[in-house]
Amino acid sequence: MDFVRNFPCISIMLCLFAGIISSGLRGRAAMIVNAGLLVINTALSACTLVYTLALGESFVYVMGQFPAPWGNEIRAGVLEALMALFFCIIMLLSLLGGRHKLLEGVEKGKLYLYYVLMDLLLSSLLALVYTNDMFTAYVFVEINTISACGLIMIRQNGRTIEAAVRYMIMSLLGSGMLLLGLCMLYDLTGHLLMSNIQESVALIVAEGKYTIPLIISIVLMSVGLCIKSALFPFHAWLPDAYGYSTVSSAAVLSSLVSKGYIFLLIKIIYRVIGFEIYRDSRIIDILFVFGLMGMIFGSLSAIRENDIRRMIAFSSVAQIGYIYMGFGMGTEAGMTASVFHILSHAATKSLLFIAAVGLTDVSGRNRQFIELTGSGYRNRWAGAAFTVGSLAMVGVPMFSGFISKLLFSQAAVQNHAKMLPALIVLGVSTILNAIYFMKTVIRIYTPVENTSYPSLTCKDMPLYAVVLAAFIILNMTLGVSSQPVVDMIRQGLAMFA
C-alpha cells in the first residue's frame, strides 16, 4: 500500500503533462483529456484520503534525492487529501455544467486553451494543497493567478478584459506582499521547508529576538493572501470577474481559486508560524474585524444588486468574511468551522452559478430580476437547484450551510471575548442572506401569464440536469451526514500541528 505515497506527486505531474499535451490538441480532445484527468485525480485523491485515514498520521514525500533541510517536499495528511478530493469533484462538476455555455461563448479555435488553463489551474491548486515548501507555494500561487486571469478573459468582451486587468493588479499586489513576507521569514529562519521554519520560529520566539520583523513578515503574508482571496475591503475586482466571465470560470474562481489561497493561509498559520504564535499576534483580531465587516457589507451590496450573477458574486464576499471570522476566533473550533465552510461554500456557490445560468437561458439571456420572473417554471431543474443553493446559503437545516453556521456559533460561544460581536453579526448576516436569496427564489417562482420565453426540460440538456442533481446530492450529503466530514477535518487539523 506504500505506493499510495506517490499519488500526490503523480496527480500534480499528471495535471502539468495534461496541460502540455492539450496545447497540441483540438478543443473536443482537450475537453476529454481534461475530464479524464479530473476523474483520475479524484480517484487518486480518494485513495490518498483512505490511506492517510488508515495510517492515522501525515506522510512526507521527498522530491528528488535531497533530504529534509535542502530538498523539496510534498506532505499529505487527511485534510490535504480531503481538500484535493473536493477540489477535483467541484471542478469536474463545474466544467460539465457550464460546457454548453463554453461551446457558444468561446471562439472555436481557442477552446483547447481553456482546458490547458484549467489543467494548469488544477495543478497549481493541488500543489498549493500538498506542498511543504514556501517558495514552491509562491511559484504555484503565481501560476494560479495567471491561469485564473486567462479563465476570466477567455470570453472576450470589453468587460472581461477590464475585469481581468483589475484582477491581475490586485493579485499581483497580493503576491508581491506574500513574496516579501516569505523572503523576510527566510532571512529570519534560514529555511524554506515549512516544518523547519516552524522549529526556527519557535526558537526565535522563545529567545524573544526579532519580534518586529517576525510580526511584519506574518502581516505581509496574511494580508497578501487576504487580498488574493478577496476579503473585504479588497473585493473591488470580484463582482466583475465573477459576473461577466463564462459560467464555468465563475464557478471555479469563486469556489476553488480563492479557497486555494485560504488553504495556503491555513497551512501558514499551522505549519509555518505555529498556531499559538499566530494566535498571540494581533493580526488575528484584524482578520476577525474585517471578516465581520465583509459579512455585512458583502450582503448589503448583494441586496442592492439587480443582476443575478453579480448578486451571487457579492454573496461570495460575505462568505469569505465568514471564513476569516472563523480564523479570527483563534480557537480550534473556529478553524474547524472555517474549513467546513470552505467545503460547503465551494459546493454551494458553484451550484448557484451553474443554476443561475439555466435560469437566465430561459429568460432571453437577461440577467435582470424583472426578466427572471417565473423562470423556475420554465426550467424546473435549474429552479430547484437554485432553491437548494439559496437555502444552503441562508443556512436552513438539511443543507450544508446550516452545519457551517452551527459550527461557527459553537465556536463563537467558546470564545468569551468575541462571542457577542460574532453572534450578532452572524444573525444579522443570516437575515441579510435570507433577504436577497429568498427574494430571488420568490421571483423565479412567481407565475407569469403569456410569457414569450421558451421552456426547457431536462431532456433538452441531460448533462446539465445530471450535474445539477449531483450538486444537490453533494450539498445535502454535507448537510445531513456532516459528522464524518467534521471528524476528518478535526483529525486533519490535529495532524497539522
Partner: protein, 124 residues
C-alpha cells in the same frame, strides 16, 4: 536602530523601492505605469534577497583552487530564488502587457478609470 539602518542600507533601499513600486501599481491610473510599478516592486524584492544572501569577502559557491572551507562561499539559495522570481515576474509582466494591448486596441486609451467609465456608459 540608526546604526543598523546605516549598515543595512541595501535592505532599507529595497524596502523604499518596494513601497514606490507598490504605490505605483496600486494608485497609477495609467496601465503602463502600473506595469513599471510592478517591475520596480518585484526588483526591490530581488535586491533584498541578493543583499541578504551576500556576505562580504566571500564568493559564489563554485569550488576553485581546492578551497573547500564553508567560510569561503556564500549560500547559493537566495540567488536561486532571485532567478526563479525573475522568471515569474517576466511572465506576469508579459501577460499584463498583452492585456494592456487588448484594452488599448478596443478603447484607444491607457487610463483604466477612463475605460471603466466608458464601460459603464456602454452598459454592457
Amino acid at each position: 536602530m540608526g546604526t543598523n539602518l546605516f549598515i543595512n542600507y541595501g535592505e532599507a533601499v529595497a524596502m523604499i523601492l518596494f513601497g514606490i513600486g507598490f504605490g505605483n501599481l496600486l494608485l497609477q491610473p495609467n496601465l503602463i505605469k502600473k506595469i513599471i510599478g510592478l517591475n520596480i516592486m518585484d526588483t526591490a524584492i530581488y535586491l533584498f534577497l541578493a543583499e541578504k544572501g551576500y556576505i562580504r569577502g566571500r564568493v559564489a559557491p563554485i569550488v576553485a583552487g581546492g578551497v573547500q572551507s564553508m567560510e569561503a562561499y556564500i549560500n547559493p539559495i537566495p540567488s536561486g530564488l532571485v532567478l526563479t522570481g525573475i522568471v515569474v515576474s517576466v511572465s506576469v509582466s508579459a501577460l499584463m502587457l498583452a492585456l494592456t494591448i487588448r484594452l488599448y486596441r478596443r478603447y484607444h486609451t491607457l487610463d483604466l478609470d477612463e475605460i471603466s467609465k466608458r464601460l459603464r456608459k456602454e452598459g454592457l
